[in-house]
Symmetry: C2
Subunit: 363 residues, 2 copies
């Protein structure tokens, strides 16, 4: 079988060019006679690779000097712990917007490490919308939100604007695991923005954390060493052995993104790709998109059919057309089409065609 | 350039067969039309891969049902924190044997989380030997040791035998990051044995922890979620997205190991490989092996030449003969030849030849 259209929510489709280059470099990286997964992380070649990866991160996202870029082995869930462990100062309260399952888990995890406050939630309508009204606690140390809610298919159109009771802007922290690199953003609005790699910029196993350098002063030296942001900041993310192959593949994805014209160009494509699919859903009465229109995600499109049986039928018939990994999140069901940066426009056209054809055949 | 002989201490050489199979599966895994780094960790194919990986772990190491096998994203350093965080019970003291740099870091890290005791050390002679006399504290909760000391090239020939003041065996914890799978061991002697993958069984980014199931009762629910062993034990190491490509490659390495005849056969080869190199060192007066003979490692062979200049000359001339990554650990210098399972016998013969030839040419 040749390659199919893969709508997996993550680990997700990677550009074919990245996979083809990886095949070569697995055997012999840069004429060293050693494969990229076998090369020492202390070698000149690997140190250069780390530099290039950080440099591409900075140029593609236009990251100012005020912010450090850290590569931390582990996923987003580890950040749910690291953020409060590093950043809740005594007497301050961590604020959370709960707009989905992962946002909720971040909030629940933070309770272990300090005082927390629920600043907004959309759980009342099963996370089908992005909360608009934010109610901050006193002495907030940060506001944490999830820019894109993978399970429910909702997305913040822009950063929440938050000013505390004294008129000061509250440090903003964002879990951008499923939409970093999908459009240009103003990094200086964030005190910390993080993302696991496996949706928009690489294979699973690592997260990137972009953190305002002045925040690095706060962490206590009593933290577990790999859960202290300073361990990464002081050692260029090379305190211990990082996942070298994963970092290499991230670098290849970033090179690919640059070759596509960067984040501005990919954003245009993402808007077009999403509209191809949403328009097909909207012109067919059978489908029930989950997200309110104003909260729709460009990355994950979620919908149900009128019965669980039809959901399953849709997924299995789509698979026969080489449209794969369309099942919704385990606990949520329905259909989810994840169309991250590396998902080609063609996949969206094929899916839209199938969305149009399915009601005539099966409903 | 074709492939060279790679003596890197980790990330280390992988079997060529594993790399060739990975090339194919990167594009299309098991005829799914999706590459192994892009497939959902909730897919049937990946769940089967996890089961196969655990199953091979169990059969190759003959792991009894009393022990769980956990796959934890991150390296050995993260275990330096997790072990004391999970396992030091109030009123008990964690005992450490400090036989090298990593052992020392494990000991230092544990101080953050409870009472610790230095049960033995070989720092007096720059870690050139394995300590024989162990002096336990009162109420020891465990004894931690490092079976192979990568930097210094020493290795425990067998587990330290320890009985506390009441005649009870103290739970034994072992960092086997650089020698798991190099020979058969009796897993039931260990309460916990762990290893990062990047030396003997895969690419960097993940560790395996083999833990006696009864120990899982001890961990506090207040721990950071990804630093609690129960998170992994209760979810078959699939609580969150694991490094899927890395796990796939581990499975391929284990299949390769099985095809070689398993751990017993590989041990014979490791003994032979090491003796080829040690004998060459011993028959040439120029070389100063670091480890005492009775403490020599089968995995990492370390030695110095009479001057730093000659060390460098040895490394650069060896590289010209395609014998690469022979530089010693940064802070220790000298030469280090790491000859893990995947290092072919041919590499050891070539290195021995070079060891014999070098004094005639350059010293």
């Amino acid at each position: 079988m040749s390659r199919v259209f893969n709508f997996s929510a993550g680990p997700a489709v990677l550009p074919k060019e990245v996979l083809e280059q990886t095949k070569l470099d697995l055997i012999n990286y840069r004429e060293t006679g050693i494969g990229i997964s076998e090369i020492s992380h202390r070698s000149q070649e690997f140190e250069e690779l780390m530099q290039q990866t950080e440099s591409l991160f900075r140029s593609l996202l236009d990251i100012p000097d005020s912010h450090a870029v850290l590569f931390i082995t582990g996923g987003g869930t580890q950040q749910f712990s690291m953020i409060p462990m590093n950043l809740i100062a005594p007497g301050t309260i961590a604020n959370y917007i709960v707009s989905g399952e992962w946002a909720k888990r971040a909030f629940e995890e933070a309770k272990k490490f300090g005082q927390v406050h629920l600043a907004a939630s959309s759980e009342d309508k099963n996370f089908s919308y992005i909360p608009k009204t934010i109610s901050l606690s006193k002495t907030p140390c940060y506001l944490h939100y999830t820019s894109n809610n993978t399970i429910y298919g909702t997305q913040f159109a822009s950063e929440p604007e938050v000013i505390d009771e004294n008129g000061n802007a509250v440090p903003l922290i964002c879990d951008a695991s499923s939409d970093l690199f999908h459009k240009p953003i103003a990094i200086n609005k964030y005190s910390l923005i993080y993302a696991a790699a496996q949706k928009n910029f690489g294979p699973a196993g690592i997260s990137a954390v972009i953190i305002k350098k002045e925040l690095l002063r706060v962490s206590s030296e009593t933290l577990p060493i790999m859960l202290n942001y300073n361990t990464y900041a002081k050692n260029k993310s090379l305190y211990n052995t990082p996942p070298t192959l994963t970092i290499y593949m991230i670098c290849e994805v970033l090179k690919w993104l640059e070759a596509q014209g960067g984040v501005k160009e990919i954003h245009k494509r993402n808007i077009k790709k999403a509209s191809i699919v949403y328009e097909a859903l909207d012109r067919n009465n059978l489908y029930m998109p989950h997200a309110e229109k104003s909260s729709r995600s460009l990355m994950n499109i979620t919908f149900h059919l009128p019965s669980e049986e039809l959901d399953k039928k849709f997924i299995s018939e789509a698979a026969k057309q080489n449209l794969k990994s369309l099942a919704g999140y385990r606990a949520f069901g329905g259909i989810r089409a994840s169309i991250y940066n590396a998902c080609p426009e063609e996949a969206c056209y094929k899916l839209a065609e199938f969305i149009d054809a399915f009601p005539k055949m099966h409903a």
